[in-house]
Amino acid sequence: MLPLLRYTLRRLLSAIPTLFLVVALAFILVHQAPGSPFSDERVLPEAVEDNLRARYHLDESLPEQFVRYVGGLLRGDFGPSYSYPDRSVGDLIAIGLPVSLKLGALALIVSVVLGIAAGIVAALQHNKPLDRLVTGFAMTGISVPVFVVAPVLVLLFAVHLDWLPTSWSGSSGLSRLVLPVIALALPEIASIARLTRANLIDVLGSDFVRTAKAQGLGTAAIVRHHALKPALLPVLSYMGPTIAAVLTGSVVVEEVFGIPGLGQFFVRGALNRDYTLVLGVVVLYAVLIVGLNLIVDLLYSLIDPRIRYR
């Protein structure tokens, strides 16, 4: 276990320059974008805008602002939000993150469980009706854009059938999560099912499985003991980015269902040039991705001990 621990520590250390790079790049990008956090069709008189800029230290030079921002980050302070004057970016993240996490975690669990299960079924029933059904569903799942699926789900289940609430603020409890989770999970289920199926078929056709078959092992035993692990490895490596993307909230799903998650704050921040809000979400996103990738890699090593860490 010791090499693994050392590996983990080293990865955590190496995350520091990664995160710094992300902050620096994002900082430069947001400040290069045309527009200002305070502009509107109702243009502010110069004196008023100057006061606002001074209040948020935007009158300083970019390097000064960068040092100020990174200094704040090191103290755990994401800075003030320009588009929500009553709240800091930290406040907004504290509001948006749990919502996005809950939504994302549910969607992820649903996608992994249903996706892998469907993929295995399809692979074992290769070219039989069940396989075609799963493949057809998966194809459709990938083929229809989320921004078509989501409104259709709302029209069908919330408006016409009236089984579920149309959006977030219309109700409380988990019922308001059902449609967003389905909308968010559908393409992921499809992708994972396809990937699992393709890999499992691949592995089942490989030499060592055929050797095992020749030795008289049954299909179930082969799948269980030999085929599943190598078949799921690519799925696992596909999980890292999927998790991060899903967790930080699908922008469309949050928009359609009016869910106050990070995705919505991010879009609003970007559109309003709320630099600190955008940066805050980016930094969080980066931390999540780095962390989740580490977890995925550690899982990799648990499942496939052939991968060694130096």
Binding site: A33, L233, Y238, P241, A244, A286, R306
Partner: protein
């Protein structure tokens, strides 16, 4: 601009043996042909507005076979135009991501060690960049063009490809037969070409078929954010997006482009799966 046609012409017989491949290729070919010839044969063009013919349902009588959109423009011609753009975006963007992603991922996975660590940290860092903001910025700072959309989509999608290929390479590299080859002194390039590359092919083909629809979806997502292609040009994604609000009042505006989009995506997916099955079958032989 005829991906399907090219595929079926260039690939050897064993590949076209699969029925799904032939059917998908034929459908894609037919759609491509229609996209090229349709606008030429139609009496209408893609930008003439007619304020007396707003949102007319499809009819054969006046030549508006797909009806008209909410500005009275002929939906058939616009849809065909959209197909051209969509196919072009998807294929070019996927090729971009394929080339960058495979070489990057394979090198990282095979070389391993410090190089791998650095290369994958760079991917992590790029992943952590906000895609939407990156694109808004690109679209705002430079004049918006098709080329920029390729770049935007390709630049994002190669990351996935690199990760997958790297993971797969890591796993293959440590398999007995590769290790045996290395131990017996087979040169590195030969190991990569003979042992790693063929084993990567399956996953890469599957992933490219996942990438083409994804590229199409990203393009339509950009349209959803209003960052897609400029009017009066259009793409299937833009048309679907414009049709969504009409889902109840003028359903053909959504149904026609959405169906075509789904058919194209399905065909690419079946094509990819069929090719993969064919490859597998050949490898086993």
């Amino acid at each position: 601009m005829n991906p399907a046609g090219k595929t079926s012409r260039r690939l050897p017989d064993w590949l076209t043996a699969q029925r799904s491949v032939r059917v998908s290729a034929a459908i894609l070919g037919a759609i491509t042909l229609a996209a090229i010839l349709g606008p030429v044969l139609s009496p209408h063009d893609y930008l003439t507005t007619d304020f007396d013919e707003l949102t007319r349902p499809p009819s054969l009588g006046d030549g508006h076979v797909f009806g008209t959109d909410d500005l009275g423009r002929d939906l058939f011609v616009r849809t065909m135009l959209g197909i051209r753009v969509t196919l072009m975006v998807a294929v070019v963007a996927s090729l971009v991501s394929l080339v960058i992603g495979v070489s990057y991922g394979a090198v990282a996975g095979y070389v391993g060690g410090r190089t791998d660590a650095i290369m994958m940290r760079l991917v992590d860092a790029l992943y952590a960049m906000p895609f939407i903001f990156f694109v808004i910025l690109l679209m705002a700072l430079f004049d918006r063009s098709l080329f920029l959309i390729f770049v935007a989509i390709g630049a994002v999608k190669w990351l996935d490809m690199a990760r997958i290929v790297r993971g797969q390479t890591l796993s293959i590299k440590n398999r007995e037969f590769v290790q045996a080859a290395r131990l017996t002194g087979v040169p590195t390039t030969r190991v990569i070409l003979r042992h790693i590359a063929p084993n990567l092919l399956g996953v890469v083909v599957v992933y490219v078929t996942l990438t083409i629809p994804q590229a199409i979806l990203v393009e339509s997502f950009l349209s959803f954010l209003g960052l897609g292609i400029q009017e009066p040009q259009t793409s299937l994604g833009t048309l679907v997006d414009a049709g969504v609000p009409h889902a109840e009042s003028a359903v053909w505006l959504l149904l026609i482009p959405a169906t075509l989009l789904a058919v194209i995506l399905l065909c690419f997916n079946f094509l990819g799966d069929g090719l993969k099955d064919a490859l597998d079958a050949r490898r086993r032989r």
